[in-house]
Structure formats: C-alpha cells, structure tokens
C-alpha cells in the first residue's frame, strides 16, 4: 500500500535526525555523557549496596564530597588553564596538619587558623604558579616535585608533633559545628563547598577572569596575542588551586580531628581521574564546575562502593588506574573527533518531491526563453559587489548593498556617481522604505537595521523569541533576508535559515528542510515575534495591495504563498504559485497591480531527483568536497511577472548570462526595472514597455510626498 517514496517521506517527516547534529553542536553535550554514566553507576550500585540511599550514608557521602569536590575543582581550574597540579594531595595534607596544629596544639581561634591555613595554601600555590607561569617550567614534573617536597615537609612536621596532635584537644563550638553541624539537614561543609562551586561557576562562565583562564588554556598563543597576561593568569590558577585544597583540608580536619602518615596520599590520582572522567580536557580550555562535580561524584561513589564490597585497597587503586586510562583515552578521542563527528552529522537532508518543472522551451509557455535582458543598461559596473537588492527613493536615487557591508547610493538622474551612504558591516540584503523615508535593511548575520536619509544606521532588532522545541538557538537572527512593511508600520521579514550562515546557503539548499521563518517586528511595542516557522528558505517578501496579507517566497520548494496577517482570513496561508521552474528570490510590486519575482537560479532534473533521495544527499555532503556537490543552476535566472491569482504574465531572461548573469531582485521605478544580483558587480536597468512612467515604489506604499 505504501510506496517506497511515501515511506521515505514519512521517515523524513517524523524522524528528526537533524537533531543529532544540533545536539552535538551544543556545549552541554560534553556534560551529558558523564552524567549518563553517573546515573548508570547509581542505578547499578544503589540496589547492590543495602545502605546506599540511607540518610546517614548520604550525609557521610555529602561530607566526603564537600572535601573531595573542592580538590577536584582545584584541579579542574588548573586543567582549564592548560596545566596540571599533582601537588593537590600534599597541599591538602599540609592544610589538615596546619588546621590540627592550630586548633589542638596552639589552641588558636578558629578563624585565625582558617586564615593561616588559606594563606599557606596560597603560598604553596604561588610557588607552583611562579615556577610554571613565570619561569615556564613543565607543570606535570614541577608539581610532581612540589608534591614530594610538601610531602617530605609533612612527614617531618607530623613526626615532630604526632603525640601533641593526639593529646591536644580543640575546645571550640564553631570548630565542632564546621565538622559535624548541619543546616536544614545538609552538612555545613557541603553547603560551604556548594557555595564555592556556585561562585566558581559564575566566575568561569560569566566573568572576565574565568573567560581569560579558559582562553589561556584553549589557545595560549592566541590569548597572548589578544592581550591577556598569560603568565599571571596561569600563576593565579595554581594559587587558587592551593587555596581550594586548603579549604578542603580545613573541612577534613574539622570532621575527623586527626591526621595520619598517609593523609592525602594518592589523592592526586583519584582527583585527576575524577576531573578527566567528568569531561574536563587535559589539553585545557574545555571544562566546567559541573564537569568537576560530576567526576568527583563518580569517583567517590565508585571508591566508596568498592570499600563497602570489601575489596582490598590495592584493587581499588587498580580500578582507579584503569578508569584514569579509560577516561584519558575517551577524552583524547572525543576532543579529536568531536568536530569531525559534528561536521559529518550536522548536515541532514530531508525529503522533497517536486513535480516535473514547466517546460521553458514550449513557445506557448509563459516561461518561454527570450533574451530581453541581454540589452539592459548597466549601472556601477565594477564599483559594487553583491547588490542583493536594489531600491529607489522618492527622488529617484538608487540604493544597493554590497558584500563589503556598505549601502551605496547612486545619484539620479544618470547614476554615474555614487557615495557610501552607510557602513554597517554585514552584507545588506533586502531593503524597504518606511513612510518617513528611512531605509530598512536586512543584514545577513546581523539582523534588521534602519538607515536614515542622512546615513545614520541603527539596529532595529537582532533577536526573536526562542522556541522551546528548537535545539539550536533560534533566537538570534542568522540570515535575515528580505522584508516589507505593512500599512500599520509592522515590519515582516524573512529569515532564510536558522541552521546555517549566509555563505553556507548551498548547504541549506542541500537540506531543503523548513529551517527558515517569517518574523514580525512591531515598532509600536518594540517586540519581535516569529509568525511563520518552518519555511523552506524563506526569501522574498512583499505586502499586497489589500494591506492585510504578504506574499512570501520559499526558494527550495519553488513556491510563493500568501499569508494574511490581518483581516477576515487572519493567520491563514494560501499557495499562490507552486512548481516554479526556478528558485524564487525577492518579490516586489509592479506598476500595473501585479507582482515581480526574481528566480535566482533554475531547477535541474538531477537536483530535483536528488531531492527525493535524502540518503544520497547525505552521503554527498559527507564524502564529497562542497565544490563537487549538486547545486541549483545559478548560472541562469529570470524575472517573472505574476498576478495575485498565480497566473504568470511575463518572463524576462538573459539566457547566456552575458549582461546580467544572476538576478536576485528587481525593482520597478518610473517605467524602468532595476535588477540586482547577489553575486553581480553591477546593477541592471531595463525599460519596461508600456509601464506607467510615473509609478514609484514609495508612492505606491505611502502615497505621494507630503
């Protein structure tokens, strides 16, 4: 009953395989994998261990997590800066010893002990930081050596005070509260660590020092060239590592009240395993607090479970070693292959079945080929590049955008001279005049801009509402394409695609999914809302003369539709033209009450066939260099005139593409048709026989000049 084609159509309609690539392009996907592993570990170990979910067990886990988590966080910060700190275990042990000495032996106030311990930690960190940041020693070996140095100092001091430590007693309520207190059922130490983690999360993800740290870790040289003080940034990472380890040591000392000769031994390996297991990259530049916490939880749960299973310590360390190798291996593979995986899976073509195109060779066809545009006059040849759209004002001056980011004004009457009206930066695409003669422009990659007659440009809008169902961030405008203004001042503009940038339009053509949309900017309340989502490369837009509907083109489906934004049919969409022989671009009004549309390129049988074979196109995108893909035939284009019932009245061609190779836009003005093309270096001007010699666009929209 189902044909192969309809199965394919259904499969591509309901299986959202473009989401794979979009999910992979998200930053949080790095966290998703360790998080899943954590869930699996809990799901497997939870039922096996009878006491796993009891309150006391969780509270104990929480306190351990508070200390271990801080150490993992310390290591993660250093890793993020592109270094490594193996001395965390020794710094931790020194802090434990320092706290106990201060409390039990010297009987100092708690806060002074804390301050002293933190200062010591900062000092150890500074030692590492100066050596690695300023003297540029190798981080691994340097911190390995400071690990031994601090450990030797620890042993010497510990042996010296070991009896005093045991016999001494800290008589302080605050000290006991730090060690055993709970707030709303949560261990105090866990809350303290949680607070520190939140602060660090904000610093790393939202603040300048954190971004600098990430930048240095990600690309040291580029960070230096960008003016970041690399040496200081690296140095500070180690200082913070020392401070965080000291906090952990202080909490540990308050909880256990004793130290042993083996305190902190081997901690660097479990912390390292945790950091890498959580998804922080060894190479630096990729990591977060969330990753550190995930990794710490994983390692802690695994080691605690092994202990409760009665596994000897040597096996536990073996397991940790295996985990470390596996985590580093996966990290290497992931970092190395993620981009490749993403580029291979992001492009996700879909099924599109177009009926056979109308024949352009048939003499009776309205599309029949001619060479009317071969003799167009040429304006600004070689002076402009990429006038996607052209427009004329009330005083007959001609405007166009260029790919250099300028809006160029050609002066009436002969258009021999020009000036740059405004420099915006992005490639100006569709244009329209509002009733105050301001020029509104869609800028590819930037959004909607307004240019006053004096050449002052301001941003109108560059974001719309975020849809919850969209994985890629569709609130930013990536490729605003064409616009028109309704009589009430609302601006309707199209965004061709939310998945690609302007220069990747061909990739969107390959996908032919409804990635585009029409967005409405309402100047009355300054809001921007998406009104029509899921359009296939939404392109040209023009408001119709009834004042309550727009015509819009969808390029890759070769169709033009009508959307009612007001009136009795408000919200409805009707097809006007389907199965065009080419890909429609901009639409504009004609003087005789009809509409002009530009076809930017023509369909080819091979591409039409390929559109019904998404797998084929996917393979093409994966395996063939973009230069060898199937493309729309953009060597030839034409201008068509049609009425609002969808009858084609006329078509204008420059078949050989000799005088005006590509047409993306046309604008009628006083009996002439002005032609723009996104890859042209000229503007064309064509005399329309029998057209009203006084008709102008601005007058048609806004009436005669006041």
């Amino acid at each position: 009953m189902f044909s192969q084609a309809s199965l394919t159509r259904l499969r591509y309609k309901y299986l959202p395989d473009h989401l794979i690539g979009e999910v992979l392009s998200k930053r949080w996907v790095d966290n998703a994998i360790p998080f899943l592993v954590l869930l699996i570990v809990i799901a497997v170990l939870g039922p096996l261990l009878p006491n796993f979910f009891t309150l006391s067990s969780l509270s104990d886990l929480g306190r351990q997590m508070a200390e271990f988590g801080l150490i993992v966080l310390a290591l993660a910060i250093v890793l993020l800066s592109g270094g490594i700190d193996l001395s965390v275990g020794s710094m931790f042990a020194m802090a434990v010893l320092g706290s106990l000495l201060g409390m039990n032996v010297w009987e100092l106030p708690v806060l002074i002990v804390l301050a002293g311990v933190l200062a010591m930690g900062a000092l150890y960190g500074l030692l590492n930081g100066v050596l690695i940041g300023y003297l540029r020693l190798r981080a691994f070996l340097t911190t390995l050596v400071t690990l031994i140095i601090l450990r030797s100092v620890y042993v010497i001091v510990f042996l010296h005070y070991s009896t005093a430590l045991v016999t001494g007693f800290a008589d302080s309520a605050l000290w006991d509260f730090i060690g055993f207190g709970t707030v709303y059922g949560f261990p105090l130490s866990l809350l303290v660590s949680g607070l520190i983690a939140i602060v660090w999360h904000i610093v790393l993800s939202r603040m300048r020092p954190g971004w600098r740290l990430t930048a240095v870790g990600g690309a040291r040289r580029s960070a230096y060239n960008a003016g970041i003080n690399v040496r200081r940034t690296v140095c500070l990472a180690y200082v913070w590592s020392g401070i965080l380890c000291s906090v952990a040591g202080f909490l540990y000392a308050a909880r256990l009240g004793s130290a042993g000769a083996d305190t902190g031994i081997g901690m660097e390996v479990s912390a390292l395993t945790a950091v890498v297991l959580g998804g922080n990259s060894l190479g630096g530049g990729r990591g977060s607090v969330a990753k550190a916490i995930l990794g710490a939880l994983l390692v802690l749960i695994i080691t605690n479970s092994l202990i409760s299973f009665g596994v000897p310590g040597s096996i536990t360390s073996t397991v940790l070693g295996i985990f470390l190798i596996a985590a580093v291996f996966l990290d290497m593979r992931w970092v190395r292959n993620k981009e490749q995986l993403l580029s291979k899976s992001y492009v996700s073509p879909t099924y599109l079945n177009l009926p056979p195109p109308p024949k352009t060779t048939d003499p009776a066809s309205p599309y029949r080929l001619n060479d009317k545009l071969r003799t167009v006059e040429v304006i600004g040849l070689g002076e402009i590049e990429g006038p996607e759209d052209v427009i004329l004002d009330r005083h007959d001056n001609l405007y166009c955008g260029t790919r250099h980011g300028d809006i160029v004004k050609f002066f009436a009457p002969d258009y021999q001279t020009n000036e740059v009206l405004a420099h915006i930066g992005g490639h100006p695409l569709g244009m329209a005049f509002d009733k105050n003669d301001n020029l509104l422009v869609c800028i590819g990659g930037m959004g909607l801009y307004q240019v006053t007659p004096d050449g002052i440009s301001t941003k109108v809008t560059d974001e719309t509402n975020r849809r919850w169902t969209s994985v890629v961030d569709d609130s930013r405008l990536r490729l605003a394409d064409d616009l028109d203004i309704a009589p009430d001042g609302r601006i309707f503009f199209s965004e061709a695609t939310v998945r690609y940038e302007q220069e990747e339009w061909a990739t969107d053509a390959l996908e032919s999914r409804g990635n585009g949309r029409i967005i409405c900017y309402d100047p009355r309340d300054g809001s921007t809302r998406t009104v029509l989502p899921n359009l296939v490369f939404a392109n040209g837009i023009t408001t119709m003369r009834d004042g309550c509907s727009i015509l819009y083109a969808e390029s890759w489906t070769c169709s033009i539709s009508r959307y009612y934004f007001a009136g009795p049919k408000k919200g409805r969409t009707e097809p006007v033209l389907t199965n065009l022989p080419g890909y429609p671009d901009n639409i504009n009004r004609a003087s005789d009450g009809n509409y002009w549309a530009a076809l930017l390129g023509m369909r080819t049988p091979a591409l039409d066939l390929a559109m019904t074979m998404p797998d084929f196109r996917r393979r093409m995108a994966k395996r063939v260099a973009p230069d060898f893909w199937l493309y729309p035939n953009i060597n030839t284009g034409c201008v068509i005139k049609f009425d609002e019932n969808g009858n084609i009245l006329e078509s204008l061609w420059d078949l050989g593409g000799q005088n005006h190779p590509m047409i993306t836009s046309m604008r009628e003005h006083k009996g002439w048709l002005y032609l723009g093309g996104v890859s042209n270096n000229r503007i064309g001007r064509y005399r329309i026989e029998g057209a009203d010699p006084n008709w102008t666009g601005p007058a048609s929209y806004w009436g005669d000049a006041k």
């Binding site: 890793l79 592109g82 270094g83 490594i84 050596l131 690695i132 003297l135 540029r136 020693l137 190798r138 981080a139 691994f140 070996l141 340097t142 390995l144 050596v145 400071t146 031994i148 140095i149 030797s152 100092v153 042993v155 010497i156 042996l159 690309a219 040291r220 040289r221 031994i265 390996v269 390292l272 990259s281 060894l282 190479g283 630096g284 000897p312 040597s314 096996i315 536990t316 360390s317 073996t318 397991v319 940790l320 070693g321 295996i322 470390l324 190798i325 580093v328 291996f329 290497m332 970092v335 190395r336």
Partner: protein
C-alpha cells in the same frame, strides 16, 4: 651563542659532583676510602640501571612512571614463585614475560591509543602494583632463594674486585650507548624524540618504536629488580610507595637529558647518577634522616628542572600539546 665554551648542564653537574666529592673528602673522615667509594657506587647502581631505562624513553619524549612498580612486582613474583617451588629459571622467565607484557601494554596504549605516556604510566604503576599485591604475592617482603649460588652472585659477587651491580651498570651502559649511537634503532629514537611528526613522515615506524622502547624499559626495570633482590636477598614491595621513581627522574634530568626529547645520552645518566650517589652517600655519613634526605633531593630536583628550563627553553609555538602541559 656559538661559543664553544658554553656551559652544558652535564658539565655543570659533573663539576658540582666533583666539588661535592672534594668537599666531602676533606670534611668527612671516612668518605675517601676504597670501601666507601665502592659502597657509594653500589648503592646507586640500581638507580643507574633504572636511569638508563628511563633515559631511553625520555629521549624519545616519553616517560615511564611505572618502572618502580614493574621492578617491584615482577621480581617479587619471581621470588614468591621460587618460594612455592617453581625452579628459578622458569620463574625468571615468567617474570620476564610479565615485564614484557607490562611494557607492551603501556607501549600500545601510548602509541596506538594515543594516551599520553605520563598518564598511561602513572595509571599503569597503580594497576601493576595493585594486581601484583592482590594476586601475585601475599606478603610485603619476599626473601630471595639461598640455594641458587649464581643468583646470589648476581648481586653480591665480585669480578676482579668489582661488585656485580657495578659491572651490570657498566655493561648496560655500554650496550645502551652502542644501541643509541650506532644502531638504526637508536637513531630512530632520537628522531622520534626530536620531532615525532617529521619522523613519521620520513617513514620511521614510530608506533612500533614506541612499543619496543617501553618493552625495553620494562625489561631494564625487571633486571634492576632481580639484581636488587639478589644484592639484598629480598624484595620489599614498600619500595613502590617510596619516592624511588622520582630519584630515577632526578638522575636523568639532573644528568641533562632534556624532557623535550631528542637530546642526551647514556653519559648524562651516569653523571647524574654519580652526583646523586655522592650526595646520598655524604648525607648518609652525615646521618641526615631519611625524610630530610628526601626533602633535600626533591629541592635539588626542582632546581634541576629550573636549570633545564633555562638551558633547554621550550618553544612557545609547540609548548601546548593536546594532552596538556606535561
């Protein structure tokens, strides 16, 4: 820059060793005796053997932090097998197989799975020690068999008045020197250490080379373990928890083998060993406790690293590697 008088690290270290030697000779009454000198060299012979193995991997820009674990576990296993009745020959063969296995696993992880050597060997040390402690032997200290005279001879014998461990160091140094200097393998090791990508493009089988190096280093560690257990007629697994692996690094880095790879040779290891030997011996005679000795050694290692970073400055262009700053 081009001056021939430029001080090499090796030269500095050699001078320092000589200076210490003279200093100790003048100040310590029982330092400059034949017996003390022989015991000095003997005490560092194991370190020298391990250093030669470590030097090999470091020259090709690797590192092996699992050497001590391999040494301890492989030789302890041999001793424990002999105690439970296995003939020594077979036990030695098994131990050798174990060492080869560890080396091959490390090498494959480094060369084919592209896990950085420093992490692989750090974890491998844990794995080897944990496995050995759990499955291969039960007690911390294994006693050497006394009914094999030739085994005891390995560690305690003399040839022409020179103790066997010293002969072993000399022999190994000679073999390694020839290997590095005059064989294709040796030149390839330098090429890999200098620029692994270039070496690969030239057609050197870089991956196999790395695996071979780790196997060789592992075997050298095993040999050191056998000689050690023969010399002190036992093997304590607690050595793994000591700082021995850092002493080995100290010997190599102090001697002037650059951690950036491609530089140095056997002579550097010997010079480094000599300095550490003089230092340890002097400190022992001075009766400095073990923990303080550790402190002093590690501070010296730190200075060696600082000097290394000045003499062999890192190229900022290539300093950052995918596996981080190691």
């Amino acid at each position: 820059m081009t001056s021939g008088m430029r001080l090499s690290q090796e030269g500095i270290v050699a001078a320092l060793a000589a200076l210490l030697f003279v200093g100790f000779s003048l100040t310590l009454s029982n330092f400059l005796t034949v017996n003390n000198l022989i015991s000095l060299v003997r005490s560092v012979s194991i370190l020298g053997i391990l250093g030669i193995g470590m030097g090999l991997v470091i020259i090709s820009r690797g590192i092996d932090l699992a050497m001590v674990a391999t040494m301890v576990v492989a030789s302890s296993w041999v001793l424990s097998m002999v105690q439970s009745g296995t003939p020594l020959g077979w036990a030695l063969l098994f131990g050798m197989g174990f060492a080869i296995l560890v080396g091959a696993a490390t090498g494959i992880l480094v060369a084919y799975a592209l896990v950085p050597a420093i992490f692989t060997t750090l974890a491998m040390g844990l794995i080897v020690y944990g496995t050995g402690r759990a499955y291969l032997f039960q007690v911390d200290v294994q006693n050497a068999p006394s009914n094999y005279p030739w085994f005891s001879f390995l560690g305690t014998g003399n040839v022409l008045g020179i103790p066997m461990p010293i002969i072993a160091v000399g022999f190994l140094a000679l073999v390694m020197w020839v290997l590095l200097r005059y064989t294709r393998f040796g030149r390839f090791v330098y090429a890999t250490g200098d620029n692994i990508l270039a070496a690969r493009i030239v057609g050197i089988p870089v991956r196999l080379l790395i695996v071979a190096q780790f196997i060789l280093t592992s075997l050298i560690a095993y040999a050191a373990g056998i000689i050690m257990s023969s010399a002190v007629s036992s093997m304590s697994t607690r050595i793994y928890n000591s700082t021995m692996i850092y002493d080995v690094l100290l010997v190599v880095v102090l001697g002037g083998i650059s951690l950036s790879g491609g530089r140095g040779g056997v002579r550097n290891v010997l010079v480094g060993t000599l300095l550490v030997g003089v230092l340890l011996n002097g400190m022992t005679i001075l009766d400095i406790p073990y923990t303080e000795q550790n402190l002093i050694k590690s501070v010296i290692l730190l200075f060696a690293l600082i000097i290394d970073s000045f003499i062999n400055p890192r190229d900022e262009q290539t300093a950052q590697q995918q596996q981080g700053d190691i």
